[in-house]
C-alpha cells in the first residue's frame, strides 16, 4: 500500500521530501505537513519512515503479507548507527531486529545533483535514465560447452551500473 503521516507528529521539516526516491513525499499545500501525494506509486522502501526524526511516518503493508492488525515500526538512532525494527503480527507475535545504518554520505556514491549541469534536450529525449551507462563493457564472455557464460572467465568488470 503506502506510507502515511501522523499529522500531530509531523513538524514539516522536509527530511522525507528530500529522501523519497519516488519524489512522492511532499508538503501539504494547506497544512504544511508531509503527505504522500501518490500512494499508488509508493513501493514501501521505508526511506521516509526511517528518515523521519519525529517517527511521524508509518506504512500500511500489502494485505498478502501483512494483514490487518499488524504493525512494522522502525527507530533510527544515528548516534548509535542503528535501525531497530519492531514487527507485530496480527496474532500478537512480536519480533524485534536491530541492524546497522548503511546510508552513504551524499556526494560520495550518489552524485550531488544540485551541482551537476542541467541535462540537455538530447538527454531529456533519450531513452536512458540519468547517469545510466549506454552499454556495459564487461570484456569478452567465454562460454562453456553448454553455451552458458563462464563467470570466472569474464574480464575485469568496468566501473558502471550492473544489474
Amino acid at each position: 500500500m503506502s506510507t502515511f503521516v501522523y499529522m500531530t507528529r509531523c513538524d514539516g521539516c522536509g527530511m522525507c521530501v528530500d529522501i523519497c526516491p519516488s519524489d512522492i513525499m511532499h508538503i501539504d499545500k494547506t497544512l504544511r505537513r508531509a503527505v504522500n501525494i501518490e500512494p499508488n506509486m509508493c513501493w514501501e522502501c521505508y526511506s521516509c519512515v526511517k528518515a523521519c526524526d519525529q517517527n511521524a511516518i508509518d506504512a500500511r503493508g500489502y494485505a498478502d503479507f501483512s494483514p490487518l492488525g499488524h504493525s512494522v515500526r522502525a527507530l533510527r538512532e544515528e548516534e548509535k548507527g542503528t535501525i531497530s525494527w519492531k514487527i507485530k503480527f496480527r496474532n500478537g507475535t512480536e519480533k524485534n531486529f536491530c541492524s546497522p545504518i548503511t546510508t552513504k554520505p551524499w556526494g560520495e556514491y550518489i552524485p550531488e545533483l544540485a551541482t551537476e549541469p542541467a541535462p540537455s534536450k538530447d538527454v531529456y529525449d533519450g531513452e536512458l535514465l540519468y547517469n545510466e551507462p549506454k552499454y556495459l563493457k564487461t570484456g569478452e564472455v567465454q562460454t562453456a560447452n553448454d553455451g552458458l557464460p563462464e563467470m570466472t572467465k569474464i574480464g575485469k568488470l568496468k566501473q558502471g551500473v550492473y544489474y
Partner: protein, 263 residues
C-alpha cells in the same frame, strides 16, 4: 524610537474603546476559528482515541507524580524551547517567532487597554518590548520564509512560490512588519502612516479571521501532542516503536544526519 507608543498618538484619531473592541473581536475570531477547526478536523477526537489506544498498549501504569513530572519536562523542553525541531536553524527561527509574537501580542493588549489615549504615558519598557517582539518575529519569520521552509530548502521552489499553507506565516509577518512600519512612519509624521495602519488592521483580520483555514491552531494542538508522545514513551506503549538499540558498538560509528538539501 523604540520607546515610542504608537497607540497613544492613534488615540487622538481613533477612540480608545474602538481599539479595545477590535482586540476583543480578534480574540473572539480566534476562539471561533479554533472551535470550528476542531469540529471539522476531528483532531481532538482522534487525540483522545489515540490516547485510549496507547493506554491499552501500556506496559506500566504511570503514577500522578510521574505524569506531572513528564508534563512539566515537556513544557520546559518541547514547548518553551521548541526542542522537537530536528535542526538548529528551524528551532532558532521558531523560537524567535514564537517569543516575538507572544511579547508583541501581550504588550499590544497592555498598551491598548492602559495607554491608548494621547494623555497616557506608558512606561518606556512596554513600547520597547512591543517593537523588539515585532522585530524578533520578523527576523525568525523572514529567515524561515527565505531559506528554511521545505518548499525552498527541500523542494527547490523559489521563495516567492506561495501556497495556501503560507497563509499563517505570511499573515503573521505582514501584521508585525506593517506594525513596525506604521510605528516608524507615525513617529516621524510621514504621510504613509495611515496606509501602514490600514495594512496592519487588514493583516490582523486575515491572521485572526483565517484561523479555520490556516495552521494558526497548531500553537494549541502541538503542546498536547508533545505531552501525549512523552507519556506514551514513559508508559511503554511508545506508539509501537521498537526499544532503543542496546548493542550499538558492533555496528561502528553512527552517521550524522544531513540537512534536507539534496533535491
Amino acid at each position: 524610537m523604540l520607546a515610542y507608543n504608537p497607540f497613544s498618538d492613534l488615540g487622538a484619531t481613533i477612540p480608545s474603546f474602538a481599539m479595545q473592541a477590535f482586540l476583543i473581536a480578534m480574540v473572539l475570531l480566534v476562539i471561533g476559528g479554533v472551535v470550528l477547526d476542531m469540529m471539522h478536523k476531528k483532531n481532538v477526537k482522534y487525540f483522545f482515541e489515540n490516547a485510549k489506544k496507547a493506554k491499552q498498549a501500556a506496559t506500566r501504569e504511570l503514577s500522578s507524580g510521574e505524569k506531572v513530572s513528564i508534563i512539566a519536562k515537556t513544557v520546559a523542553s518541547d514547548i518553551m524551547t521548541s526542542s522537537e525541531f530536528c535542526t538548529f536553524q528551524r528551532r532558532a527561527a521558531h523560537l524567535l517567532g514564537m517569543y516575538g509574537t507572544i511579547i508583541f501580542w501581550v504588550t499590544s493588549a497592555m498598551l491598548i487597554f492602559s495607554y491608548s489615549t494621547p494623555s497616557s504615558a506608558a512606561p518606556a519598557m512596554l513600547p520597547m518590548l512591543w517593537h523588539i517582539g515585532a522585530l524578533m518575529t520578523c527576523i525568525g519569520g523572514f529567515w524561515f520564509w527565505f531559506s528554511i521552509r521545505v518548499n525552498v530548502s527541500a523542494e527547490g521552489h523559489p521563495w516567492y512560490h506561495v501556497m495556501f499553507a503560507d497563509l499563517f506565516v505570511l499573515a503573521l509577518l505582514a501584521s508585525q512588519s506593517t506594525a513596525l512600519l506604521w510605528s516608524i512612519t507615525q513617529s516621524s509624521g510621514s504621510i504613509f502612516s495611515g496606509l501602514f495602519l490600514l495594512l496592519f488592521i487588514v493583516s490582523n483580520v486575515v491572521l485572526f479571521g483565517g484561523v479555520y483555514w490556516s495552521k494558526f491552531a497548531h500553537m494549541f494542538y502541538k503542546p498536547g501532542a508533545a505531552i501525549q508522545k512523552h507519556l506514551a514513551k514513559a508508559d511503554g506503549s511508545n506508539s509501537n516503536l521498537p526499544e532503543p538499540a542496546d548493542k550499538p558498538k558492533q555496528f561502528g560509528l553512527g552517521i550524522r544526519r544531513e540537512s534536507p538539501k539534496n533535491y
